[in-house]
């Protein structure tokens, strides 16, 4: 009798029953999750919020010069997974990440690795355009300034211009760089945020539903921009719009309740998905 209790206690100390229950339900991923030239390599990633497992044993690569889109119903963990890629989840109390996430062969959850420079290498664009309440110039110049990327004002000016050019915003704002970034339209703000991200020359850009607050025209401009940015960066994008995933990405990953259900060529996923859950989700049979 007592031995059974002890054994149970031992098991509990490793994993609580809730953890055990949810861990058992991890599903096999359909499709090839590897990329030809991977920048970020994620293997068997679990993310826990306290006792709740948000991501279950996910393996996914983000390749060079490709856009990987992550789709899935709300609460499926796609944003959580995205945020674990630049350790943005560190700010959340109780959040644990296990498994291996490598950026160019370097383990990003290594204890010795500093998340601050990591976030300069893996930039992030958020759902709601969130420019700093400063001037347009300051918004873009902030990152390079704190990282000391430029030596003098002229270089900084050049970098700001180049970043705004790449974000397709230069023509619209070059006359009013000293005006507040918050005074721009929603689409311009989001492009300003993209300019701010690329000003620190990241290797990978993570985008968390970057167009969800934008109108269709602004969305189209940002999507066009994403397609151009693909030439120089690896991009992972979380989106609620399946059409957007189909338009901008080369590969698509479908998440469901913390599981990565299916990964594959975007064309393939949207014409002939292999998993029933994927099919149900993208054809609108969900729930």
């Amino acid at each position: 009798m007592s031995t059974t209790v002890e054994a149970m206690d031992k098991a509990m100390s490793v994993m609580t029953s809730a953890e055990l229950a949810s861990a058992q339900h991890s599903r096999e991923t359909v499709g090839d999750f590897t990329a030809a030239e991977p920048r970020m390599v994620c293997r068997n990633v679990d993310v826990w919020y306290g006792n709740k497992q948000a991501i279950k044993n996910v393996s996914l690569d983000i390749g060079k010069n490709e856009v990987v889109s992550m789709i899935g119903p709300s609460g499926c963990g796609k944003s959580t997974f995205l945020r674990s890629l630049n350790r943005m989840n560190d700010t959340i109390v109780d959040c644990r990440v296990t498994g291996s996430i490598q950026l160019d062969g370097e383990e990003i959850y290594d204890k010795k690795l500093d998340p601050v420079p990591l976030r300069a290498r893996v930039g992030m664009v958020f759902q709601k355009p969130n420019p700093f309440p400063k001037s347009i110039y300051e918004n873009v110049a902030y990152g390079p300034r704190i990282h000391g990327l430029t030596n003098n004002k002229a270089e900084l000016d050049e970098l700001v211009e180049a970043s705004l050019q790449k974000a397709g915003l230069w023509k619209e704002v070059k006359e009013r760089l000293d005006q507040p970034g918050t005074g721009l339209s929603g689409g311009q703000q989001q492009r300003l945020c993209i300019a701010r991200t690329i000003a620190v020359s990241p290797e990978v850009i993570l985008m968390d539903e970057p167009c969800s607050a934008l109108d269709p025209i602004a969305t189209a401009i940002v999507e066009e921009l994403i397609d151009e940015l693909r030439q120089n960066y690896s991009i992972a994008i979380v989106t609620h719009s399946m059409q957007q995933a189909a338009r901008v990405s080369q590969r698509t990953a479908y998440f469901h309740l913390g599981d990565l259900i299916e990964v594959g060529e975007t064309n393939h996923i949207f014409t002939n998905p292999q998993h029933k859950l994927t099919e149900d989700y993208i054809t609108g049979r969900f729930g």
Binding site: V116, R119, P131, P133, Y142, G143
Partner: protein, 438 residues
């Protein structure tokens, strides 16, 4: 449900929603109107109390800004004041100016010879009048050798009489001024020798037992030093504590405990802080009592919870998207806080700080415990000089029996309110300035 049989419906068609809505609309609007009227009434009531308070204080206090003077021809002969002719300040200061004033008074009433009557006559002017004349002569030595018509400070009873606060027609035993004195004053008034002039003494002097010599400058400076030091101590500490608790501290049982205690501290009666100051700062650390320094320390402890709570609220109201944006471009936690979060939270923090300061300015109870109630005539010139503060001064004056202190109490309250108003104005202006930072 009412039991009276309802009239049959006009038609068999089902009642449309719009009819039902219209039927209840009147009731809804009536309820709305009632609620609005109630609100307006509450505001009016509150405002009327404020107006009542202000009119009472102002009507009682505004007369304190004028003071009665008696014009007397003073014989400032060089032989009396400066027999050696050296014009040395020490010599000039040593002269008996009170005697000069008394001589001048006697000249005005040459009929009086009886000693008792003369003493009553001398009481027309303040006991400090001689000192004031001395200051005047020291400032203007050219007066020596002439007989200028100088305005001499009247006694507080005379002041009250002239201002009409003492009823001349009342029975002699019901008033502090005798018929004889009233006669003298009337005579002087007829000669045009009595006038109310602006009361500079009230604003430039420290307190005094004599109402006509009492001023609030000492208390004002005491309050100023106390508040300055309080602000310098409590704002950085409060903001730092808030920043740490809100942004850096791990969320565990200890920080929960700290948070609960801070909230409790904000509700602790202020007198307890006074007792603490007495025991710790004066008793244990031996800081001199009744100084702005110890007052500021006590006030700092008292205002810290307010500032910490206000600052935490201000930090919480900064949208998390700004933090994410900064972290996302690779700013460290400290850079995120100081470059982005703090500037956005500063207006709220300043408001909290100024509300705390306003509370500290109006606080008297804890200061009574640390000796600020002492009677201090000198105007403090530093943090370690003995001092009193405005509210304590008001408390002391309100406790004094002289009739003239009533108006001075009110006048001091006016000054205190003016400063509170200025501080609130500063809060509003600062917030507005920092909210638009481009």
């Amino acid at each position: 449900m009412n039991n009276t049989p309802s009239p049959p419906p006009a038609s068999d068609a089902p009642r449309r929603t719009i009819d039902i809505v219209n039927a209840s609309l009147k009731r809804r609007y009536a309820r709305e109107r009632r609620f609005r009227r109630l609100g307006a009434f509450a505001v009016a009531l509150g405002l009327s109390f404020v107006v009542l308070l202000f009119t009472d204080i102002v009507s009682k206090g505004y007369t304190a800004f004028a003071q009665t003077y008696i014009q007397l021809p003073l014989n400032l002969s060089a032989e009396v004041i400066d027999p050696s002719g050296s014009r040395e300040p020490a010599t000039l200061a040593a002269a008996n100016y009170t005697k000069l004033i008394r001589d001048a008074l006697r000249q005005q009433f040459p009929d009086l010879t009886e000693r008792q009557a003369l003493r009553r006559l001398y009481a027309l002017v303040s006991v400090g009048a001689g000192d004031l004349v001395r200051e005047q002569v020291l400032a203007e030595p050219a007066l020596i050798g002439t007989t200028p018509e100088l305005w001499v400070l009247a006694d507080d009873d005379i002041d009250m009489l002239v201002k009409g606060n003492i009823d001349r027609t009342a029975a002699p035993e019901d008033r502090r001024v005798s018929d004889e004195t009233i006669g003298w004053v009337t005579q002087l008034e007829q000669q045009g020798r009595v006038a109310k002039r602006f009361n500079t003494i009230f604003l430039t002097h420290g307190t005094s037992r004599e109402p006509e010599l009492a001023g609030i400058a000492g208390a004002l400076m005491g309050s100023f030093y106390t508040l300055l030091l309080t602000l310098l101590l409590s704002f950085p500490i409060g903001v730092g504590a808030a920043l740490y608790l809100e942004e850096f501290a791990p969320k565990n049982r200890w920080t929960d405990l700290i948070e609960v205690n801070i909230n409790n501290l904000a509700a602790v009666p202020s007198i307890v802080f006074g007792l603490l100051g007495l025991a710790v700062f004066i008793g244990f650390f031996g800081i001199p009592r009744s100084t702005p320094l110890v007052a500021a320390l006590v006030m700092t402890i008292m205002t810290l919870p307010t500032i910490i709570i206000a600052s935490r609220v201000a930090l919480k109201s900064v949208p998390p998207s700004i933090r994410e944006a900064a972290l996302g471009v690779g700013a460290s936690a400290l850079q995120t806080q100081f470059h982005h979060v703090l500037p956005l939270a500063l207006p709220g923090m300043l408001t909290g700080a100024i509300i705390g300061m306003a509370r500290a300015l109006g606080e008297s109870a804890p200061l009574l415990m640390i000796g600020m109630i002492a009677f201090i005539v000198d105007i403090p010139s530093g943090f370690t000089d003995s001092a009193t503060v405005l509210p304590v001064q008001i408390f002391l004056w309100a406790d004094s029996p002289e009739r003239a202190f009533v108006e001075r109490t009110s006048a001091a309250i006016i000054v205190l309110l003016a400063f509170l108003f200025l501080m609130n104005l500063a809060a509003v202006l600062l917030r507005r300035k920092f909210e638009r930072r481009w």
